[in-house]
Symmetry: C2
DNA sequence: TTGAAAGCGCTAACAT
DNA sequence: ATGTTAGCGCTTTCAA
């Protein structure tokens, strides 16, 4: 304690990290103004003389003062925090969504409180606890929503936005890719490619995304008078999909085309077909994914797939959050368009011969 | 408003989501006790009669009351929130770390406030703002830490834990994989495999992980009297690594072994070697990664790599956070061991001939 | 064991 | 434009 430091009592807060963090009161005293002047100096639109603000800012700097956001939240009644629940971070598609969401929220001046679930299903407990912060909104990424949780959120006045999932619950907003349309487009593509024995590899049964994709796929086939596809469940995981693919390829009526409910599973399917069964993917067997994740374009896989534009979906979610924060009460459901991306993992339709 | 509902004035908060959220005062009134009794009912170790607690709990349930964590944080001076900054969520290895961290924090009763950076370098601004919550700790995942930010954190009494990164800053804790040892093990493996022209593909230059891996690699080679490796920079990205690999393979003195500073880059390198240059990976060219991410084991890649056990690293970080929260001031630096995983992306040493 | 009262650090009327 | 005052919802002495 021999180094002299700007006159101040030993226990006064300083920028050197000693003592407790500085409060607005400390700053006010040092600047010779009232505590509310300090508050105003840090409130964007407040009416305060430039000179006063400068004094305050200088004092604040000297003390290393930062307004306590917790106190601010307490009084304003909202936390400026958005809760984000995510089921399976291992899935790169969700990681990408989270990344985009994080950026978008930061730009909107909102914080992101993250929780994951390892049970891969409901996300109850962690959210329960976190609901006690006055969240501005709760975004659930590919995660199931129980009626009970939905009710609790309503009670706590926390609006819910589902990403990549739909729910029958009222008052629950959602943003989804074009699962139905995408699946139909894929069905059309495979039929045009003259595939004869079609299979669908489902994700987790509770997943509305998987269900919708299956539904669209089956509906188009039915429309064309084609029977329902063979069905296996790959659980949306690499291991699960690999196992499902083995079952498919071991059948006596082995399918010649497999529509996997997401790219992840398509990758596993390709690996199994190529390395375990020695099949040439895209010629001897066609494998299609869904989502167009970055890996889908890697030369090892070159997956034919249907896009689910992360950026647009996050943008749509942000728009909904904005409305919700401004007091909107009704749910918004939005579907973001996508398109078929044709690569080489599935046989293409032959061009019609010139006649 | 015709449905009768438990006697109560129109604007009193109810479990049906009307009105404002219930406060401890509301509960106290309904239960016929003081507000402090309500507080005690929700404070684990508090001295309160069972009968009183029951009354309070019943009333709370009826009103849908949940203690306001913001108010609790304000008074307790700590938020029970850990900030997590992450540079590049697209990297599955970091996504996996985040997943593990999220689970571990939840188990420890801590919340996770996430922020990412798109500049892929410093993460200044977003953290700046978030520091105003009284974070219990700040975990930086493969993210650079500027001296300025370090100082601010010290002022705000927010301890920093670096994951996958080291820093010369004092008071900054860190957890790392065995970059030096791993790189040496890889160098030894490649030399034993009789590779003659070694190359190193670096990640971002500011990354301590990349630097340490390069250092360990070079040091072992020097020890063995082998000259320094050819060097290219792949920026830790798929595209960057692909470009770097093209440059390497177009050299007249094309390397016969490439040590990539992470698995991500190794994957890109394999794709380029295999699909653009028609090389048989593991025979005509050896490619080694670092980290042993799940994809490394996929049959398409089968990367020889060095493990960086996510679980152990996160566990180490949690231990450090625990100590820090209990008042420890000194930094802790820990290195988590790993091991070489031999797959088929690199030629193996021939077994010594029996003599 | 319980209630009354004093804040935690801040914002937002309300005066001046 | 500035200071004074009254809380935000909770925890925690301090008495009773």
């Amino acid at each position: 304690m021999s180094k002299p430091q700007s006159q101040s009592s030993p226990d006064s807060p300083l920028a050197d990290g000693g003592g407790r963090p500085a409060t607005a009161d400390d700053v006010a005293r040092l600047a010779g103004v009232s505590q509310s002047a300090v508050s105003r100096a840090f409130t964007p639109g407040a009416s305060i003389a430039a000179a006063t603000r400068d004094k305050v800012v200088a004092a604040a700097e000297q003390l290393g003062y930062q307004p306590n956001l917790i106190a601010r939240s307490l009084i304003s009644g909202r936390s400026n925090i958005v809760g984000v629940g995510i089921g399976n971070l291992e899935n790169p598609a969700f990681a990408a969504s989270l990344d985009a969401l994080s950026l978008a929220l930061a730009e909107a001046g909102l914080r992101l409180l993250l929780f994951t679930t390892n049970t891969r299903g409901q996300i109850e407990t962690p959210i329960q606890e976190v609901l006690q912060y006055r969240l501005d909104a709760l975004v659930l990424l590919s995660t199931a929503l129980s009626p009970k949780l939905a009710l609790q959120c309503r009670n706590a006045h926390v609006p819910i936005v589902l990403l990549n999932r739909t729910s029958a619950e009222p008052h629950v907003s959602s943003v989804n890719g074009d699962n139905l349309g995408g699946a139909r487009a894929i069905a059309a593509f495979l039929l045009a490619g003259e595939h004869k024995r079609l299979a669908f590899m489902a994700g987790m049964e509770e997943s509305s995304a998987s269900r919708e994709r299956e539904q669209g796929f089956g509906a188009y086939l039915a429309d064309q008078g084609v029977g329902p596809p063979i069905r296996e469940n790959g659980q949306f995981t690499h291991a699960g999909a690999a196992a499902a693919m083995r079952r498919l390829l071991n059948r006596t009526d082995r399918p010649d085309a497999v529509f996997c409910a997401n790219d992840q599973m398509a990758i596993a399917a390709i690996d199994v077909a190529r390395y375990e069964f020695g099949l040439e993917v895209g010629r001897e067997i066609s494998i299609v994914g869904f989502g167009d994740t970055p890996m889908a374009s890697w030369p090892s896989f070159a997956i034919t797939t249907f896009t689910q534009p992360t950026e647009s979906m996050v943008a749509a979610a942000m728009e909904i959050i904005g409305k919700l924060r401004q007091g909107r009460r009704e749910a918004v459901r939005s579907v973001v368009e996508g398109e078929l991306v044709i690569r080489s993992s599935a046989r293409r339709p032959q061009p019609a011969p010139r006649s």
